[in-house]
């Protein structure tokens, strides 16, 4: 079903003419009006644009949380639109990691338990799960904070826990929705350094929504959204 020319590697993500319409008839709202986007493995993409431009909708579709109204979304050549709700959940479980603006950690739950949550759903045994979660926390510089609950951590630390939770499964893609939106500049830069490191050292593809140019500067590919359309996605270096 995905006959690709042998010379070209299969892109990680391919969007072709993706539209998203909310509501019906008069009340319908076109969030996306036909988006074409290619993301190669190992890319670091920033999606920018004013609010309401469709970047969050696009993010939800990329994250398999939502499906396009029309058009095609292929993930490693697989047509996501043809997958069931459960199959999309499995795709998220095995290939995607999420980081949100509001951290979205489980309250009254230790950092370690938060990080190991995706591993529980993967059915990993306890000892292995704890070891992986500990090393993920160490990778974001939170060794020794394992037993702290989110309320006992600063915003920057909470976002690090969230990043640890996203990368603990060694996902193909990390989707970050305004990861620095709730943080001050110093914390934001730390988070960006961390993302960059995972991108270069562990080869995790990163797709990030942001409206701060300073943060977008860390990405190697910037996609500008406006009124549900993109400007193609010019490269800030090697694509």
């Amino acid at each position: 079903m995905n006959a690709q020319p042998a010379a070209e590697p299969v892109p990680l993500i391919t969007l072709r003419g993706v539209t998203k319409v909310y509501g019906q008839g008069q009340a319908s709202m076109h969030a996306l009006r036909g988006i074409d986007l290619v993301i190669q493995p190992g890319a670091f993409v920033a999606m920018m644009g004013p609010s309401g431009s469709g970047k969050s909708t696009c993010m939800n579709i990329l994250g398999c949380l939502d499906t396009p109204t029309d058009g095609s979304y292929r993930f490693e050549g697989v047509e996501v639109g043809a997958l069931s709700r459960n199959q999309r959940a499995l795709l998220r479980r095995h290939y995607l990691g999420f980081v949100f603006q509001g951290f979205n950690l489980l309250a009254r739950t230790s950092a370690l338990e938060n990080v190991e949550l995706p591993l529980i759903y993967r059915g990993m045994p306890l000892a292995q799960r704890h070891a992986r979660a500990r090393s993920a926390l160490a990778a974001v510089g939170l060794s020794g904070w394992e037993s702290h609950s989110p309320a006992e951590l600063s915003g920057g630390q909470q976002q690090r826990v969230a990043i640890a939770r996203a990368i603990v499964t060694e996902p193909a893609v990390l989707l970050a929705d305004e990861p620095t939106g709730n943080l001050d500049t110093a914390r934001s830069l730390e988070i960006m350094e961390l993302l960059t490191r995972f991108n270069t050292e562990q080869d995790i593809t990163i797709v990030m929504v942001t409206h701060e140019a300073e943060m977008a500067a860390y990405a190697r590919q910037v996609v500008h959204f406006l009124d549900g359309l993109v400007d193609g996605g010019q490269s800030q270096g090697a694509e």
Partner: protein, 401 residues
């Protein structure tokens, strides 16, 4: 998958200990009340059975007159001693027969007096009514023949008049009759009707005739059927004999009646069993209400935890995994509540039984049933909120504030 759902569910319960405890409370009380009701009911049934047995096994009581309702009896010619003798002679399947007449009297010893019931009878009275002598002796043949002034006391009368003193050999007065205490009966406790059975004095029948009643009537004939004999057959034979002796025409009603204590016992235990079932059913409703409580809390909790559910779904939890987690939470809460309820019920059963002077009976069947029912309540009332949680749209759930 079930193991992980259990792990996640236990973490959730631990995260919200207070809410979990309050949710469980409904089930705890529901389960405990069902079990306590049934246990107390079983205790009451056992107690009634014991009390009936204390009246005398296979006891039939023949009285003159017919029961007219509201405690009234029709007037009828009293029995004579010959009637009792005839029963013993002519009716088959009988172990013993005792004639008896009773009258309330005041017993006086020293400066104490006590209103009690004095019964005139013979030595057959004791085995027939299931009395045993703990002290002293029965009436001698000459005392019975001569109508001697001797008496045998029930434990209740002894306590009231003699306290810690040994009554045997002492002389007490029954109204104007002075009589010597020759024996003491073992305690039987309260009857099923709440009357103190030990509140009695027995004297020889002739003594009763001459010194108390002033006539030679026999008010009651006590009959005990032989072990293994059919009490209803004995009852029927006594009825036939009495109709003949009292010359009752075929179209006339009996002017006496024969009460079979076994029948009464069966009726009484039947009644307590019905009451037990009824109380158990009422308590079952509270268990149901406890289940609805769980559903209510779980529904609130699903709304409250919308964001958490969104996170789980985004991370890659399957719909059925979220469903299972919430279901397991409900079942763990309800079955743990069930266990606590059983513990509470055991304690309460012992406490209340002691308070009501009943034998504490723990019905293992109802405890198991109540526990299984509480777990089932978790499944039934947990399912709807769990499905609601699992069907959330992850995007909406993540945005939920």
């Amino acid at each position: 998958m079930l193991g992980h759902a259990l792990l996640l569910a236990l973490r959730e319960i631990r995260r919200n200990l207070m809410r979990s405890a309050l949710t469980m409370l409904g089930i705890v009380i529901g389960v405990a009340s069902v079990i306590v009701m049934v246990n107390l009911g079983s205790g009451a049934t056992a107690q009634v059975g014991e009390q009936i047995a204390s009246l005398g096994s296979n006891l039939l009581m023949v009285r003159t007159g017919q029961h007219l309702g509201f405690g009234q009896r029709s007037e009828a010619e009293p029995f004579k001693l010959e009637d009792a003798e005839a029963v013993g002679r002519e009716v088959g399947g009988i172990a013993a027969v005792a004639p008896g007449s009773s009258q309330p009297m005041t017993a006086i010893f020293g400066n104490r007096n006590w209103s009690t019931t004095v019964t005139g009878s013979d030595n057959h009275y004791f085995p027939v009514s299931n009395w045993t002598l703990t002290k002293g002796r029965e009436f001698s043949a000459s005392e019975l023949r001569a109508g001697a002034a001797v008496c045998i006391l029930g434990e209740g009368v002894r306590q009231e008049l003699f306290g810690n003193q040994d009554p045997v050999g002492e002389t007490l007065r029954l109204n104007k009759l002075s009589c010597q205490v020759i024996g003491l009966l073992g305690a039987k406790g309260q009857s099923a009707g709440g009357r103190d059975q030990d509140d009695l004095v027995v004297i020889p029948l002739r003594t009763f005739w001459r010194r108390v009643a002033g006539n030679q009537d026999v008010q009651m004939i006590y009959v005990s059927a032989r072990e293994g004999a059919s009490t209803s057959k004995v009852q029927h034979d006594i009825e036939l004999l009495m109709r003949e002796r009292r010359r009752i025409a075929a179209n006339e009603d009996d002017d006496f009646n024969v009460r079979d204590m076994k029948e009464i016992a069966e009726a009484l235990t039947g009644t307590t069993k019905v009451l037990t079932t009824l109380l158990g059913a009422v308590a079952g409703v509270s268990l149901l209400v406890g289940g609805i409580g769980i559903m209510n809390i779980m529904l609130v909790s699903v709304t409250e935890r919308t964001r958490e559910i969104g996170i789980r779904l985004a991370i890659g939890a399957l719909e059925r995994e979220v469903l299972l987690q919430f279901l397991v939470e409900a079942v763990v809460l309800s079955s743990f509540g069930g266990l606590l309820g059983i513990l509470l019920a055991v304690g309460t059963t012992y406490g209340l039984s002691a308070l009501m002077g009943m034998p504490p009976i723990l019905d293992a069947g109802i405890m198991l049933l109540a526990f299984l029912f509480s777990a089932a309540v978790g499944v039934i009332f947990g399912f709807f909120p769990a499905r609601k949680a699992a069907r959330q749209d992850p995007i909406e759930a993540l945005r939920y504030e």
